[in-house]
Symmetry: D2
Subunit: 442 residues, 4 copies
Amino acid sequence: MASSTTSPIGNASGSPRPDGVAGRVSTTSGKGTGTLADRYRSVRELTETLAAPLSPEDQTVQSMPDVSPTKWHRAHVSWFFETFILRESLSGYRAFHPVYEYLFNSYYEGVGDRYPRPRRGVVSRPGVSEVTAYRAHVDEAMDMFLERRLEPDQYYLVDLGLHHEQQHQELVLMDIKHVLSCNPIQPAYTTLQAVEPSVGPSSELVEHAGGMVDVGHDGQGFAFDNESPRHGEFLEPFALEARPVTCAEWMAFIDDAGYRRPELWLSDGWAAVKTENWEAPEYWSWVDDRWWSFTLGGPKHVDPAEPVCHVSYYEADAYARWAGARLPTEAEWEAAAAFAPRSLPRSNFLDTRVLHPRPVGAQSSMFGDVWQWTSSSYSPYPGFRPAEGAVGEYNGKFMVNQYVLRGGCCVTPEGHVRPTYRNFFPPAARWAFSGLRLAHDL
Amino acid sequence: MASSTTSPIGNASGSPRPDGVAGRVSTTSGKGTGTLADRYRSVRELTETLAAPLSPEDQTVQSMPDVSPTKWHRAHVSWFFETFILRESLSGYRAFHPVYEYLFNSYYEGVGDRYPRPRRGVVSRPGVSEVTAYRAHVDEAMDMFLERRLEPDQYYLVDLGLHHEQQHQELVLMDIKHVLSCNPIQPAYTTLQAVEPSVGPSSELVEHAGGMVDVGHDGQGFAFDNESPRHGEFLEPFALEARPVTCAEWMAFIDDAGYRRPELWLSDGWAAVKTENWEAPEYWSWVDDRWWSFTLGGPKHVDPAEPVCHVSYYEADAYARWAGARLPTEAEWEAAAAFAPRSLPRSNFLDTRVLHPRPVGAQSSMFGDVWQWTSSSYSPYPGFRPAEGAVGEYNGKFMVNQYVLRGGCCVTPEGHVRPTYRNFFPPAARWAFSGLRLAHDL
Amino acid sequence: MASSTTSPIGNASGSPRPDGVAGRVSTTSGKGTGTLADRYRSVRELTETLAAPLSPEDQTVQSMPDVSPTKWHRAHVSWFFETFILRESLSGYRAFHPVYEYLFNSYYEGVGDRYPRPRRGVVSRPGVSEVTAYRAHVDEAMDMFLERRLEPDQYYLVDLGLHHEQQHQELVLMDIKHVLSCNPIQPAYTTLQAVEPSVGPSSELVEHAGGMVDVGHDGQGFAFDNESPRHGEFLEPFALEARPVTCAEWMAFIDDAGYRRPELWLSDGWAAVKTENWEAPEYWSWVDDRWWSFTLGGPKHVDPAEPVCHVSYYEADAYARWAGARLPTEAEWEAAAAFAPRSLPRSNFLDTRVLHPRPVGAQSSMFGDVWQWTSSSYSPYPGFRPAEGAVGEYNGKFMVNQYVLRGGCCVTPEGHVRPTYRNFFPPAARWAFSGLRLAHDL
Amino acid sequence: MASSTTSPIGNASGSPRPDGVAGRVSTTSGKGTGTLADRYRSVRELTETLAAPLSPEDQTVQSMPDVSPTKWHRAHVSWFFETFILRESLSGYRAFHPVYEYLFNSYYEGVGDRYPRPRRGVVSRPGVSEVTAYRAHVDEAMDMFLERRLEPDQYYLVDLGLHHEQQHQELVLMDIKHVLSCNPIQPAYTTLQAVEPSVGPSSELVEHAGGMVDVGHDGQGFAFDNESPRHGEFLEPFALEARPVTCAEWMAFIDDAGYRRPELWLSDGWAAVKTENWEAPEYWSWVDDRWWSFTLGGPKHVDPAEPVCHVSYYEADAYARWAGARLPTEAEWEAAAAFAPRSLPRSNFLDTRVLHPRPVGAQSSMFGDVWQWTSSSYSPYPGFRPAEGAVGEYNGKFMVNQYVLRGGCCVTPEGHVRPTYRNFFPPAARWAFSGLRLAHDL
C-alpha cells in the first residue's frame, strides 16, 4: 500500500514555479485575511483538530446510513482535492492508492462507480493512521499546486474544496453525536463549557413590509451554485419572530399532547410520528421526572432557554401550526436577514467551541445556534445552471424531496454561512442541529 | 344488515319542506345548467356508468397500496355525503351500516379510526350489490336533503362532495387500469375508439413576458381550498411549448440512453430508475421490435403522435434536462393558461369517452389528454387557511413531498378542472395519466 | 376467450374405447366403494359445494401471501388434471386458455414459469363464472379419459390429482377463514351447528414401550411419496396424552404469563412473539372480559373444552415446555396411532360439517378436530425417492424449515388422511387448524 | 470508568485459600495435561493471539447482523466468566463496568436485557485497549477463583466458559474473514503458508452395515448438554465418502449449470439462489478467466484439490442431488467417525495455523478442514434436558430452523471438537467454514 513518505509527484524535477501568484489572491469571503494556501492549511488543520478527540474505533463507526465514519469524512474531503484538482491539473501527480477513487467518492456519478454509502461502516481499512498519511500526501501535493498561478476555474475549485471540507467539518460533529448517542454508555465527545441555565424571554416580532425583494447571491465572494442567480421575488407582508423557538416552548407543545394530535401534522409527518415513535426531539429522554438531552458533552438536563434542536421538518411544521404561526419561506428568511440589525449578540458558530445551542435573548442573531427550517422545498432558482463537469453534481441533483434550512448552527465553521446560504435535508431528518423560527402573516 | 328498501330516515313524518329553494340555486361552475339536485344525480350516475363494465371480481382487487378497489371508491364517495352532510344535517338519518364509517373513511383523522389503506383489497364484503344498495340509501336521503333550503356551508359541502366524487371517477379509471395491467391475460376495460395513427408536428413556443401575475382562484364558482388565496407572484420571462411532449420524442429519449445516464437525473430519480428497473413509461413494453402500451382498451401499439403518459416527475424532469429545457412552475403554467387562445381544439376529457390521450396538433389545448407535471412542490399559497372541521384535511395535510400537476387528462370529468386547479402526486408516481409540457427561459 | 360449450377434444372422432376398464378398478383407499370416475365426480363436486356459499368477491381475495383466492384453488386443481393428465395423455385435448398454464401453476418449476404467488389476489379475471366453465371443460375431458383402460401410472396420477384436490378443499376453508377474519364486519362463511359448551375432563396417558417400530406407508392403497419407504426406527419408551390440549389449558398458559416468559420459548419463537405481538392463538380476541374466537361461523365464545387450534409450532413447543411435557416425534405419533383403540369416538372431519373442533372427551380419536404438531422436522425417510417428472416436486422440495403435523382436522375431507400421512407447515404458521397433543418420557 | 489497575476484589482481605486443589484436578478432555488454571490461561492467551494482527478499526466492524466485532467477542467471553462465575461465586467481586452486563450479553434472557445484536458494530466504546483492561480484570479475579477448591458445578462452569471461548475463537476468524471480504481493498488477516496446488484423487466409499448404533456423548470428559443423553438409533446400511467434496468437483457442478437448475434445489434453497444471486460458494469470484477465493490471506486462486468451503446447507443439498448422492444424517456421520481408522492424516485444525482447508488425499480425516453439513435438523436427543439456570439457554433454545454440522474445521481450536460434537447453522448460512461429505444408500 502506498506510504506517506512517497512524494505525491512522480516526476521529482517538478519546478517550484516561483512566479506563481494566483494562489495568493486574497479572498473576499470567510475570514479573508490570508492567501488561498493559508486558508487551505487552516481549513485542513481544523478538520484534524475536530477528529483529534476520537479514537480509531470512534472514527470507524457508521450508526445509520445517513451518518459517515469520521475517517471516511477525513478521507473523502481529501479525495475531493485529489479528484477534481490534483488528478486534473497537477502534472505527474501520483494517486495515493488506486482503490481510494472508488472508496471515497460520495455520490459523483460522473467520476465513476463508488462504494455503497450504507456500507461505509464495514470498511476497517484504511485505518486512521493511513487516512492521516493520505491527507499528508494530498496536502503536500496541494502545497505544490498552490504555489502556482491558478486559473480562475482552478481557484474556484480549490475554494469549493475548502467550503466542501467545512461542510464536512459540521458533518463530522453531527455524525459523531449520533454515533455516540447509540452507545448505552453515553460517552462524551468532549467536555462542554458550563453555561448558566436561564429562562428565555418572550419573543418579539420583527415586521417586514413585503413587496419585491432580491433573493440569491450577488456574486461578491464565494457561493455555491444553488444560491444563484440572484432574482426578484414578490412577498406579502409578514413578521418573523426575533428568536428561535425554545425548549421551554417545545415542552409546552409536548405537554399539550403535540405528538398525539394528528390534526397538527402533515399526513406524512403523522405517519413518521407513529412509525418512529417520536415523542420529543431527537436525543431527548425523560428520566427521573425531567427531560435530558444527549449532547456532544454527554447527557445533560434540557435548558428551557435554549433553542430547541434536532427536530425534523415535520415537527417544526406541526409546532408552528400548534402555535398559530407558520414557518417562513426561504425568501422571507433571506429578506429578513438582509435587514437584521447589526448590533445583535455574536453568533454561536463552531469557533466558540460551545458545540451546543446557547440560551437565547429576546432578540438573537439570525445566524448560528440552530439551523432554521423554512417552508420552502429545495428547488432551483429561476435560471439556475449547475457548475460544469462532475462538480455540477454538488447541489442540483438533490433538488427534490428536501426542505431548505437557513442560518447555520453551533457546529458550523465561522465564515462558512451567508445570508444566501441554502442548507437542505429531507423532512424526516433529525440528526442535524435543526430548529425553527416562526413566521406570521400580517 | 341494512337493506336498501329501508327508508334512510327513521322518523317517517319528516315534512317535505316545499318552500326549500336553496338547493336549486343554479351553480356557476361545471355544466351549470341544473339545480344542485340535478347535478347530484348526474354525478352519481356517472360513477355507476364507469363501474358498469366491471365484474364483482374486478371491483374487489387492489393491485398496490395506492390503488383502491372500484367498489371501495363507490362506497367511499357515498360515505363522504353520509358523514359530512347526512349525519350532521339530516335529522333522523339512519346510517346504512355501523361499520362503514370505519371501513370507508379514507384518511380523515378528525372522523375517527379507519381501516388501513393497503388492506382495502382484502375486504370482500360488502360486495358490489350491497355497495349499490348503500349508494341508493344515501341517494334517497340526499334527495330529501336537497329538497331543503340549504345554508351556504351546506351548499358548499354538497358541492365539495360532488367534486370529490368526480376526483374519484378519475381514480376509478386510473386504478382499474393498473389492476388490469397486472393480469397476464391483459384484459380490456372497454373497447377504445379507433384513432388514426398520426405523426405529430414539431412544437412551437409560446412566449410570456413575465412580471407580476395573479395566481389562484378568484372566488367565482367552486374551487378547492388549496387554490386560495389569489395572490401575486413575480415571474421571469419564459416560454411554454405549445403542446405536450409526445411519444415520438420520448422514444428518442430512450434511444439516446435516457434511462441509463445518471447525469440527466435527480439523485432520488436515479435511485428509482435502478430500484424499479424503469426503462420506459409505465405500461410500455417492447415486444416484437416495437413499443406496446397497455391501455383501458388492452394492449396497443404506441402512437408516436400521442402525448407521452404515465411518466413520473423524476422521468419528466430527466427528459426536460435531456431536451435542454425544464418543467414550468405552476405559476408559469397558470399564467400561460390564462392567456391561452380560445380557438384551440376541444379538450379531451372523460366526456369524449376516448379514455386515452389523443394525438396532438402543433398547438393543443392547455387542458385535457395528460396531466402536466410542474416543477412546483405542492405547498400552501401565502395566507392559505384550510376549511374548518374534518373536511379541512382534504388538501392541506398533503402539502409535502408531492409535486403539482395541471390541466386535467382524458379521464378527468369535464367541468372538473379549472386553470387554477392543483393536482398533486409524489414524484415517483406513474399510474396517473401524467405527462409533461416543456418550458424555457428567455 | 375459450368457452365452456366448446368440446375439449379437438379431434371429434376420438373413439369411446368401450373396453376400457382400468378406470373402474375399485380403490382400496378413501371410502373406496366406487370407480375412479365416480370418485373423480364426487371429489370435484365437493369442491364446488364448499365454494358455493362464497360470492365472486369472496373468491377473489388473497389476505396474505400464504392464502390463495378460492377461485384460484378451484382453477389450480383443474390445472393439475389438465397439465399432468390431459395434456400428456389425452390425444387431441385442447387447453381451455393459453395463459392458464402460467396463471394456475402453483410451484412446478418443471412445467415452466408461473405467476407469482403473493400476487394471486390481484388477478380479477378469469372470474368465478369463467372458472366454473374451466372446471366443466376439464371435467368433460376427464370423463372421456376415465372411460379408458388406464396404465398404472395414469391411474396413479388421477388418484394423486384427487388427493391433491382434497388437500385444496381443506385449504379453501383454511384460507377463506383468514380472508373473512380480516374484515371488520366479521362475516361468517356459514352458520355453524350449535354445540353444547362443555368442560373437558382431565387427560390420561397412554404408554408405549418403545423399541423398534415400523414407520411409513405399507403400500396398501394410495399414499404420497413422502410417506415412503416404510422403515424401522428405534424409540425410547414414551407416553402420549389421550386427547389434545384444550382451550381451558391454553387459557391457564396465558394466565401464567406464557406469552411473556422467554425461558419457555425457542429463540426464534420468542422473536416471533415479539415481532407478531402474539398474546393468544390466531383468531382469539379478548372482548368484554372473555375470550372470543373468530370461526367459520363468525365470532363465538371460546369453549374451554375444545382442543386449542390455530397455534404455531413455536407456541405448541412453548406450551409443552410450560406443561413439563414435550411434543411427540412423528414416529412416536405414528406408533401410537397404530395401537390406538378402535372404539374411540368417531373423528370430526369435514364430512361432519361441524367445521370447527369439537369438545374432547377423556379419550378421543388420534384423528380429526385439529392437526397435531410433532417435534419432527419435515425430512425424507431413509431411501426416499420423489416421484418421476414434475409431480416429483409435490413433496420433496419442501423438506426443509417445516415441521410435521399428524392426524387431520375438522376441515380435512374424510378418507384423505392415514396414520402415515405427513402434513407440514413452517413453525410460525398459524392459519391451519393446528393444535397439539403432549408426549412424556417414561 | 473502572481501570485495570484496580483490584477486582473489593475486600482486600480475601484469603488465598492455599488448600484449594479442586481447580487443579487434571482434565480428561482437550490436551489434558495441565490444571484448570493452566488451561484457563492457555485458552485466554490464544484469544489475544488471534486478535493481535487486527487494528482497533478492524476489531470494531460488524459487516452483517450475524457477524460480531472482534472486540465484542473478546469482551463477551470475559462477560461469560464474570456473569456466571465471578458475580455468582467470588465473594466481593467488583464488576468492571456497570453497563457491560447489558452490552456484552449475547442472548441470555435469564440474565436481563441486552444490547441488540445487529447494532454491535455501532458501539465504538469500550475500545480495544479498554477491552484488554477488562480481560485483565477478569483474569485477575479468575486467578484468585481458580486457587480455590471448586465445587463440581463450579468446575463445570469454568470448563464451559473455556469451551465457550474456544467457540468464539473460531467465530473471531470466521467473522473477520467476512469483514475483510467486504473491503474493496481485499486486505489479508495474515500471510498464509504456501501450500502446493494439487489434484485431489477420486474418492472412495466407506461402507457401514447400519443397525443399532449409540449416538451422543458417553460422559467421559467435557461435552455440551446438546450431545446428551447417549441413546440408540437404528440405521439402514449406508456408505460415506472417504473425503469431502472438492473444489474441482464443485466447479463441475457450476459448469453443469448447478446454480441454474431448479430441479436440483429445495424450494427455499432455490428462492435463496435467486434472491441472493448465488453463482458459486461465498468468497468465490470469477476474474480473468479463473476462480478466485477470498481467504484469510487475501485473494488466491481456488485450488481444485481443496475441500469446497463456505457453502450453505441449500447448496450442499443441491450438490448432493446433482451427484446422485445425499448428505449423511448426523447419526450416520457419528457412527462412521466412531469406526474411522486411526492412521489418517493429522487433522487440520487451528493449531496448524494453515487457516484454510488443505488439499485432501484419497482418504482424509473425518475431522478438520471444513465443517460437514448433515441432513439432520438440529433437535433435542430423546430425553434431552438443558443445563439449569441461564446457561441452559446455551444450546436448547436454538433447536429449530438449523441444521447440524460435524467434524470441526481449519479454524477450530484443537481439542475443541469430539465425534459427538454438534455444530449448527441456519440452512442459508455461508460464512462458516462449511463444506460437505457425501453419503449413499446401500
